[in-house]
Symmetry: C2
Amino acid sequence: MSKTPIKFYFDFISVFAYLAAVRIDDMAARYDREVEWHSILLGVSVVRTMGLKPLLETPIKGDYLKIDAARYARRHGLPLVLPKGHELIDPLPPARAFQWLKVHHPDHAKAVALDLLTAYWGHGVDVSRADIIAATAARHGLDGETVAAAAVGHEAKDLLRADVEQAIELGAFGSPFFLVDGEPFWGADKLELVEAWLAEGGW
Amino acid sequence: MSKTPIKFYFDFISVFAYLAAVRIDDMAARYDREVEWHSILLGVSVVRTMGLKPLLETPIKGDYLKIDAARYARRHGLPLVLPKGHELIDPLPPARAFQWLKVHHPDHAKAVALDLLTAYWGHGVDVSRADIIAATAARHGLDGETVAAAAVGHEAKDLLRADVEQAIELGAFGSPFFLVDGEPFWGADKLELVEAWLAEGGW
């Protein structure tokens, strides 16, 4: 089996992305796999390309998914704060900050993204705020002001747009979404199946 | 833990219902649980109540779900024939036949439904046809003509409508959908989680 990295696609506004993000790298490491993270925008792929509504805003299904996410968090001992109404944050600032970090501080990008996902979904912090992005980057030894400024700059915007477009081309339409040697897996629920795939070499 | 039956909701036009239906009763039996089957209509719950498109007809996602279903079938050694285009059958005749059988031949209803699901999804047989429904019922020792006639009668129609309405009231909007002591689980992917829930007593 080749040891190419697993591609992991996530949107900061996706609770299931958070639930997968905190587990994927450890799982992959057990099979000598790296994980390559890609921030995407469900607002582009799901809502525009596929003509669907945002999941948590879909009647009935949205309520179920909150139960499902809470159960997943309890089972794996993860902190979780679900938004009360429809008040999802703007995913652009953290997604752009992450894209910029991948290019300029590749060794820190993933850890910052994981902190932002955990701050938002685990503790209810508004990670679209520039001061929060700056403080999070600073905790990883980076210049917080530079990162926060880059998150609203043209380079980060272009990087994010290109990654979103490429994700759609590769069929990675959801969050979380995994590509393992080209094999697509969608949903935090699929982490165990991805693990079985790696262990057994596919079916 | 109480030993109330697991409620299993399925639509005949749902490939993931087939993939779960062939496994659910054996799994439940390992935990001394019965499974109570309910045929529902995604056309009512998903399309009308939730405002979504049928899954396999959703761009990109539909293609992914076919890959996912095929992979599931390969992994579990199940036969599978996916519809080539959008030619899903009319789910009303088999769903109504099943509802009528539950009342009039409760010991055979589930086995006939499982045969119909397997004939359609495992072998590409059009199980909306009266002659197919009759032949399937006959293989279980029932009067095939009577069952096929009942499937287009008022009693079966009313029984199905009532079950679909109750499913929506209970929040069972998808297929397959499981209610385990009131706890909702959606998707064939959740069978392993349902099993863990039964084994560990929930989280």
